[in-house]
């Protein structure tokens, strides 16, 4: 697989994914929304706002739609949501450590950064490097 082929395949995959997403979005808005969310019944102005999310997340939408159609509750438990708080703490300890390191590494890689060799005057250039006429 050539480097040039990867962008082409990624683009084609994105187009196909969006096309399926558009179909799922249309089906959900026409046949699913009123059944899975009582607050949507009789409310139409907000529906266009849902389209981008339905297209972007159509696999998740399809799974959730299926689960709700099988009679599972719309809402999760109100208690027992501490997992995300603990994940939050771990994420920020990680990011607060990793981001400064990555930033310093990127600065070290700069063309004009500290790792770049000092410029040389052309008359002092190594053998084989010719000055312009």
């Amino acid at each position: 697989m050539t480097p040039e082929l990867v962008p082409h395949l990624v683009h084609q995959a994105a187009v196909a994914y969006s096309a399926v997403g558009a179909v799922v979005a249309a089906a959900f808005l026409l046949f699913g929304l009123d059944r899975v969310d009582p607050a949507a019944r009789g409310a139409y102005a907000f529906r266009p706002l849902l389209v981008p999310g339905l297209v972007l997340l159509w696999p998740l939408v399809a799974l959730r739609w299926l689960a709700l159609a099988r009679g599972r509750g719309l809402r999760g438990p109100a208690a027992g949501q501490t997992r995300h708080r603990r994940a939050h703490a771990r994420i920020w300890i990680g990011l607060a450590t990793a981001l400064p390191v990555l930033l310093l590494a990127a600065l070290a890689l700069r063309q004009e950064g500290p790792l770049e060799a000092a410029p040389v005057r052309l008359p002092d250039a190594p053998a084989g490097v010719r000055s312009a006429p």
Partner: protein, 352 residues
């Protein structure tokens, strides 16, 4: 909160918030476009399109920095709560500015490409085998995609459809977006920047965002919260009656980490989960308003006795049983199903 979905639940505060935010964004972009040409190096002038790209890109980066600072700032100092109130609009506008940056890039560099613009963008630099000059564009595309998902799922419908835990987990993707934007900037604009200003701004952003989150986390861990300890079978000692302010709460952490808010109102005590059903806001940091617990983040309300939002709203939170041992407040650590009625416990000697 809304019993029937609307496109945007406008109120005066939100209108003023959005107007101020949009004015600030417009002011920044215009200042960048007008002042930029005056202070740039005459030996290497930037064209208008490149200047616009940098204006939108830097604006989006600064907005993302600010939007990430709002959460920890509000936890460290309640005066920042009004900024948190409409944070989702801040996030959506941040995505719009980032998308404007991307559209300027596509329109300037790839307008006449024989390939589709997004494919041309991906194919512009494929030198993944080297550290110096490592492609920075994919980091920006990935960050924009994450921001697009967050903006597209910002409506309350998504919260109820996906359930709060899933929605919250999805929206924690903003941290990944920030890390991607830092890498996009560090491997892109910072590589060719000839003055240290941009590097200083990015470093300050990283220090500010990381420092505030770590500080807020430490405050939450070591802050003024009680820890429950079992004193008799099925009951845990939490706090004392006198420590709970009228119309306020004390937050108690159970041994499994679950936070519970013990409220005092009208001389009676009630306990509910500390996590709002909307976005897991800290209910115990809120107040009792009109006889209802009111979340400090977005104003969602719940009745003290059963954890139900007043009609016509339908949100419900878990309640807990309480009893008194002298002035000590004992709590049954097993949560009741959301919306379960628990009779509030009268405080001896307190005026109702």
């Amino acid at each position: 909160m809304s019993a029937s979905h609307k496109p945007v639940g406008w109120n005066r505060t939100k209108v003023l918030y959005d107007a101020a935010l949009l004015a600030a964004v417009a002011g920044y972009i215009l200042a960048y476009l007008w002042v930029g040409p005056l202070i740039q190096r005459t030996s290497l002038p930037l064209d208008e399109q490149t200047l616009a790209m940098k204006a939108y890109g830097s604006c989006a980066f600064l907005m993302l920095t600010l939007v990430l600072c709002v959460g920890p700032l509000a936890r460290l100092d309640r005066r920042f709560l009004p900024v948190l109130y409409n944070r989702r609009h801040f996030g959506v506008i941040t995505f719009a500015v980032a998308a404007a940056h991307a559209l300027h890039v596509l329109g300037w560099y790839f307008a006449y490409s024989h390939l589709p613009q997004t494919e041309a963008l991906l194919a512009a630099d494929t030198s993944y085998g080297q550290l110096r000059g490592f492609p920075f564009i994919p980091f920006g595309i990935a960050a924009l995609l994450v921001l697009a998902v967050l903006a597209a799922t910002s409506h309350d419908f998504w919260l109820s459809f996906l359930t709060p835990p899933v929605w919250k987990a999805l929206h924690m993707g903003v941290y990944a977006a920030y890390a991607l934007v830092v890498m996009h900037t560090a491997l892109g604009a910072l590589q060719s920047a000839t003055n240290p200003a941009l590097a200083v701004v990015v470093a300050l952003s990283v220090a500010l965002v990381g420092g505030l989150h770590v500080a807020a986390g430490a405050r939450e861990r070591d802050g003024a919260v009680a820890r429950a300890a079992e004193v008799e079978p099925g009951w845990m000692a939490t706090t004392t009656v006198d420590a709970i302010p009228e119309d306020g709460a004390v937050v108690v952490h159970l041994p499994d980490g679950e936070p519970v808010a013990v409220f005092r109102h009208g001389g009676r005590l009630s306990a509910v989960t500390n996590l709002c059903a909307h976005q897991n806001g800290p209910l115990g940091e809120g107040r009792v308003v009109d006889g209802c617990i009111t979340c400090p983040w977005h104003g969602f309300q719940y009745r003290l006795e059963d954890g139900c939002a007043p009609p016509p709203f339908t949100e419900r939170i878990a309640t807990y049983r309480l009893k008194l041992d002298g002035r000590r407040v004992l709590l049954d650590p097993r949560p009741n199903a959301p919306g379960t009625r628990v009779e509030p416990v009268p405080v001896p000697g307190a005026a109702a």
